[in-house]
């Protein structure tokens, strides 16, 4: 209801709405112009950090994957890296390459997920169908490597859970070639489509200065011309030995954010090719854990390429102290901080997720835009509510 003299109308969008649910946007509109838009988050808060305090160290690995289901490897890797810092172990070389391989496969299908959801939001069903359809070959690659579609729990302290299956290299090459050909179709039909260009270009412009001041992370930061990537700033896993470029765009609008994701898919494919070419032979579990496995099981483990967990993992004790790790996930920088007091569970575990850091953009970018531009901006941020709410 608008009483006389009042021009602003409050508009509630969500939590039931066509685009990737679980949040409410409270918009104040004056005619067709958004005066203020506040995101109402917390619809998917499941107290992951608190639950980590009562779970054992290895049980936390599946727990931290759940908040960002489309991008599980980043959380898994960041958590295990912090744990390894506390335990004082370094994974073997082959395990590092396998971690990188999975992280890049995951980055590709996470970006395709984001692009597909963005397609739904701006009303292009074709983009959704294509992106979700082309996501499946990558999910199958990951499934062959780890045994699961999305929740891999592949990375464990001191290594990885499974070795590279025979012939995965050729199959990965086939998938990559397919995706490269598809990329051309995407550009012809979607990214160079005048309607898409008109809806995305110049909408929701984030300047370089604001992006740095607001602490934005991931592709949204790089779309504003800041060449910051944790893989380069603080290299981990096998990234120091691999060649890749940091993708940046100058414009900072919705289209630039989409373009960064698309070009990152190409970069990730380049990394996957390098990993498959360069991967060294060797063990996939740290020797201090491998020698705890009974000899007979160790033999069968080496033959089958699947790690048998040493019994010490059931009650893994971590020396007191604290550790921080940073990982570049599909949506941005993931930070894990673990405080251990020498017991079976951490004293405190803090996870900082990229979506939580990017949620401020809803308020910042939508001031003064048209109501129809809200989905174009929302989608381009690749915001995943469970990740922000934890």
């Amino acid at each position: 209801m608008i009483s006389s003299g009042e021009r602003e109308l409050e508009l509630l969008i969500g939590p039931q709405h066509p685009a990737s649910g679980h949040m409410r946007l409270v918009a104040k509109v004056d005619g067709d112009v958004v005066v203020e838009l506040r995101p109402n988050i917390g619809y998917v808060h499941r107290s992951v950090e608190k639950l980590a305090e009562v779970k054992k160290y290895l049980q936390i690995i599946p727990l931290v994957e759940r908040p960002s289901l489309a991008d599980t490897t980043a959380n898994n890797l960041a958590y295990v890296m912090a744990l390894e810092k506390l335990l004082g172990i370094e994974p073997p070389e082959r395990a590092k390459y396998l971690r990188t391989l999975l992280a890049e496969i995951n980055r590709i299908h996470s970006h395709l997920y984001g692009l597909g959801i963005h397609g739904v939001m701006i009303g292009s069903s074709t983009a959704y169908m294509w992106c979700f359809g082309d996501r499946e070959p990558f999910l199958e690659l990951a499934q062959e490597l780890t045994g699961a579609r999305l929740t891999y729990s592949y990375i464990i302290p001191g290594g990885v859970r499974r070795d590279l299956p025979a012939g995965l290299g050729e199959r990965a090459e086939r998938v990559l070639r397919y995706m490269e050909n598809r990329m051309r179709d995407y550009f012809n039909l979607y990214f160079n489509n005048p309607v898409v260009r008109a809806r995305l270009e110049g909408v929701g412009v984030l300047s370089r200065h604001d992006a740095i001041n607001l602490g934005i992370t991931g592709p949204n930061l790089r779309a504003s011309g800041v060449a910051y990537d944790v893989r380069r700033a603080e290299p981990y896993a096998a990234y120091p030995e691999l060649e890749f470029d940091i993708v940046t765009e100058e414009a900072g609008d919705s289209f630039a954010r989409v373009m960064v994701r698309v070009r990152e898919i190409v970069e990730s494919m380049r990394i996957i090719r390098q990993v498959i070419r360069k991967i060294p032979e060797g063990p996939i579990l740290h020797e201090s854990y491998e020698k705890l496995i009974p000899p007979k099981l160790r033999e069968s483990m080496k033959q089958r390429g699947m790690v048998k967990f040493p019994s010490v993992f059931a009650n893994l004790r971590v020396p007191p102290g604290e550790a921080i790790s940073r990982v570049e996930g599909g949506r941005g920088e993931v930070v894990f901080h673990i405080v251990s007091d020498g017991k079976l569970s951490p004293y405190r575990m803090r996870m900082v997720t990229p979506s939580f850091r990017n949620v401020i953009l809803f308020e910042h970018l939508t001031r003064g835009v048209r109501v129809a531009d809200i989905p174009a901006i929302y989608g381009s941020l690749d915001y995943f509510p469970p990740e922000a709410d934890r």
């Binding site: 939590p15 039931q16 709405h17 066509p18 990737s20 649910g21 679980h22 917390g42 619809y43 998917v44 808060h45 499941r46 107290s47 608190k50 639950l51 009562v54 599946p62 727990l63 759940r66 908040p67 960002s68 289901l69 489309a70 997920y113 597909g116 959801i117 959704y128 169908m129 979700f132 359809g133 996501r135 499946e136 579609r149 999305l150 929740t151 469970p386």
Partner: protein, 175 residues
């Protein structure tokens, strides 16, 4: 009430009689079978993503699994939908919205609990902020898994269709 039909005069509450006759007819074979068959192939779930299982729910509507061939079309408007998917964990804040959405859907309506969290909390069983969906909604089909694969979602749709065709779920009240 009096009304005339081709010169004949009919006496009585025609509207109530017609409603009674329709209710009698719609519960009789073969009309009941045709009705249930129709409902089972037009299950439209509402776009209401409660938690992370939505990622696999979206994949089940995408090309590879293509649940639309089972008459399963995710739709925006609550008033046009008859199926509510509880996709994973239901937090307290979301449970409130879930009840609102459920109450706005027209009869007959069905609820599917997707994922271990929708059954009994799953990995978040001891969290302070979750609600078990069966405490607040009548859930007809549960899908185990964390997250369930798209094949499992398709299986759940087929199970629900069979249940509807057996005449277990749809009942029209005679008023």
């Amino acid at each position: 009430m009096v009304c005339s039909l081709e010169g004949k005069l009919l006496v009585g509450n025609l509207e109530r009689s017609a409603r009674k006759a329709a209710a009698w007819l719609v519960e009789k074979r073969p009309v009941r079978d045709i009705r249930d068959w129709g409902i089972s192939f037009s299950l439209w779930p509402v776009h209401f993503t409660t938690a992370c299982c939505g990622a696999e729910f979206a994949a089940s509507a995408a090309p590879k699994y293509d649940a639309e061939r089972l008459g399963f079309l995710p739709f925006i408007g609550i008033r046009q939908c008859n199926l509510l998917f509880i996709e994973g964990t239901l937090s307290k804040k979301m449970a409130e919205a879930a009840i609102w959405v459920y109450e706005q859907m027209p009869e007959p309506k069905f609820v599917v609990g997707m994922g271990a969290c929708a059954i009994d909390g799953g990995i978040f069983w001891n969290s302070y902020n979750i609600v078990r969906p069966m405490d607040i909604l009548p859930v007809h089909v549960f899908i185990p898994g964390c997250p369930p694969r798209p094949e499992a979602v398709a299986q759940a749709i087929i199970m629900l269709q069979r249940k509807i065709r057996r005449g277990e779920l749809v009942r029209y009240e005679t008023r």
